[in-house]
């Protein structure tokens, strides 16, 4: 009960801080967009990965595929065909989510490192398609100057409205993930993660369970794809390339891949890191790579897991000396 309360207090404090952020940050012009909005967008993308890893034990690099599908649909339909966002955004999210059924059908037959490789190949496949299919995607140049959405007369081209829109989306999706984990579906899912054979022998049909979880994560990733289009205002093959995939992976692993909050902790860290290092952009990729390797070598549970790791090590030492 005590832990429950502490958790609830943490959530309230984090949300309050997030709401106050545009008013308390120094240099809001820069930090709200390059720090806050960016971190929330990346955090939602990473959340789709964390959800799957935490509840099914599967690390997927295919999330960028779903983001790419929805992002490209919004970009192409609004820039090339003048389709209104009211139509294109729901359609794009639906298409991204449904593509999860196709990928899931194949990928969920595999596990562990096979699943990881297969989903990586899926994303790289979209990258090469986006590069080759110039008539559709404009190839390497990508689709630029995508207009920003106007909802109820509010123009989201401005920094602060976009920040609050993203924050709202992130809170709703995070709460939805937490809620799903508490339902009987979420509990069955953890059973599949820990011992699929036992779940099968108990009479569960595990494939539909895994499929629903996978498609749900594709749904989150599709939303992140649309958020990316509105935040960056362009989309190109690099938006779904190898470096971006690894970026997302770095966020998840550095934050803590078995914690939902880890997605946002990692995203904030990476967004701040990017913002600080942006005068030295040529070193960014290498610096993230080194950070990633160091975290994997020393703290594989990520930042969220450091306290647990330290506690476990202390307990082990105490046990050894006793």
């Amino acid at each position: 009960m005590k832990i429950m309360n502490r958790k609830r207090v943490t959530y309230v404090v984090v949300v309050a801080l997030a709401i106050a952020f545009p008013f308390i940050t120094p240099d809001p012009e820069f930090w709200v967009s390059s720090g806050g909005t960016r971190a929330i967008w990346l955090g939602v993308a990473a959340l789709s990965m964390s959800f799957l890893n935490r509840n099914l034990g599967l690390m997927s690099l295919g999330q960028l595929f779903f983001s790419g599908v929805s992002g490209y649909i919004v970009a192409i339909s609004s820039v090339n065909h003048n389709v209104k966002f009211g139509t294109s955004v729901p359609l794009a999210i639906l298409a991204g989510t449904l593509s999860g059924v196709l990928i899931g059908w194949i990928a969920l037959k595999t596990k562990g490192v096979y699943f990881f490789m297969l989903t990586l190949a899926v994303t790289l496949g979209l990258y090469s398609f986006a590069n080759q299919a110039q008539e559709i995607t404009r190839g390497h140049t990508g689709i630029n100057s995508i207009p920003s959405p106007i909802i109820f007369g509010m123009d989201f081209a401005y920094v602060t409205p976009l920040y609050y829109l993203f924050l709202g989306i992130a809170i709703v999706l995070f709460a939805l993930c937490k809620f799903l984990e508490k339902t009987s579906f979420g509990i069955a899912l953890k059973g599949v993660r820990d011992n699929e054979d036992r779940m099968i022998s108990m009479g569960y049909r595990t494939m539909p369970l895994k499929m629903i979880a996978f498609v749900f994560s594709a749904f989150i990733a599709s939303i992140a794809g649309v958020m990316g289009v509105f935040y960056v205002t362009n989309i190109s093959p690099d938006s779904v390339g190898l470096i971006r995939s690894i970026d997302l992976l770095v966020i998840v692993v550095v934050g803590g891949a078995t914690y939902l909050g880890g997605a946002f902790v990692g995203a904030i860290l990476i967004a701040v890191f990017e913002a600080i290092i942006q005068d030295f952009t040529q070193y960014y990729v290498g610096a993230t790579g080194i950070l990633f390797i160091v975290v994997l070598l020393l703290a594989p549970q990520g930042l969220m897991g450091i306290t647990a790791q330290v506690r476990a090590r202390r307990a082990k030492k105490a046990g050894a000396s006793a």
């Binding site: 496949g125 080759q132 190898l242 390797i293 594989p300």
Partner: protein
């Protein structure tokens, strides 16, 4: 008809290159369960090194030898320093190698810049051979790549399934403890496998850097090709790599030649289709 034959030959010789690239990946995985996702970066690094040496010495073969050997040493260092401790945590190892590929990509960009490079074909091999019955000719060097791939394939197969060293390697993978008890240093065996696998991709980088141009982004492309090849053929099987390379190379070339816009999608659809029926790949063992 001419286009058909040329596309087929291009596909076949490209399959030879894919085999050289992916055989190292599958060798290391098949024997050690370690998946090296810096494989594409290794390929590109070897391309740069071979290009530099060939450019300085004017000798293609020196470039290829130095490229292959330096990658062999580099790969071994990565294994010993970063991976060995976690060898049995498959996913963690895969993630670390992705980190290595990021650092490598950055370093190579800093040194070689964003331009594209291509090593010159050795002069003695620049001739073309006539295709009988068509009155056309085909560059010999591309056929040479295919021959190299076949030689490497047979060599690997003989080494692993017919020699004493191969037997030690296979035994060391099946039961590390037992083989150690027989007085064989299994750690040394693993180091040699990693050396050999990296040497292969280094050699592939030297050869592929001569038939195709390379530069920023090539690492991702060849990582994709290798993954497609081993996923289709079945991870860990040399025969599977041969089949996978053939399919990805030939079908990829036909797709690029006849439906350029959808080339990526066609290869991808093939991959999905094969996995739908055989999730472990064509020659892969059940997981």
């Amino acid at each position: 008809m001419t286009q058909f034959i040329f596309t087929f030959l291009n596909g076949l010789t490209l399959a030879g290159l894919y085999f050289l690239v992916a055989s190292g990946l599958t060798l290391i995985f098949g024997l050690m369960r370690v998946i090296n996702l810096a494989h594409g970066a290794f390929y590109l690094l070897a391309g740069y090194i071979s290009w530099t040496i060939a450019d300085k010495t004017g000798n293609w073969l020196y470039g290829a030898i130095v490229g292959a050997l330096s990658l062999g040493v580099f790969g071994t260092l990565v294994y010993v320093l970063l991976l060995r401790k976690f060898q049995y945590e498959e996913l963690r190892v895969a993630l670390i190698t992705l980190g290595v590929s990021l650092v490598l990509a950055q370093a190579m960009l800093a040194i070689f810049g964003g331009e594209y490079y291509q090593t010159n074909i050795p002069e003695s091999l620049t001739f073309s051979v006539p295709i009988p019955g068509l009155g056309l000719s085909y560059p010999f060097f591309r056929i040479f790549v295919l021959i190299l791939a076949i030689v490497v394939a047979i060599g690997l197969w003989v080494f692993i399934s017919k020699t004493r060293y191969g037997a030690i390697i296979r035994a060391g993978v099946d039961d590390t403890t037992m083989v150690s008890a027989l007085g064989i240093n299994v750690q040394a065996v693993f180091i040699w496998i990693f050396f050999l696998g990296s040497l292969l991709v280094g050699f592939a980088g030297a050869v592929g850097g001569t038939t195709n141009s390379f530069g920023m982004g090539t690492d991702g492309d060849y990582l994709l090709f290798s993954l497609q090849v081993v996923i289709i053929g079945g991870l860990g099987s040399i025969g599977g790599v041969a089949i996978g390379s053939f399919l990805v190379g030939v079908i990829g070339q036909f797709a690029t030649g006849y439906f350029p816009t959808f080339a990526g999608i066609i290869t991808f659809a093939m991959l999905i289709l094969i996995l739908a029926f055989r999730p472990q790949g064509i020659l892969g063992k059940k997981q």
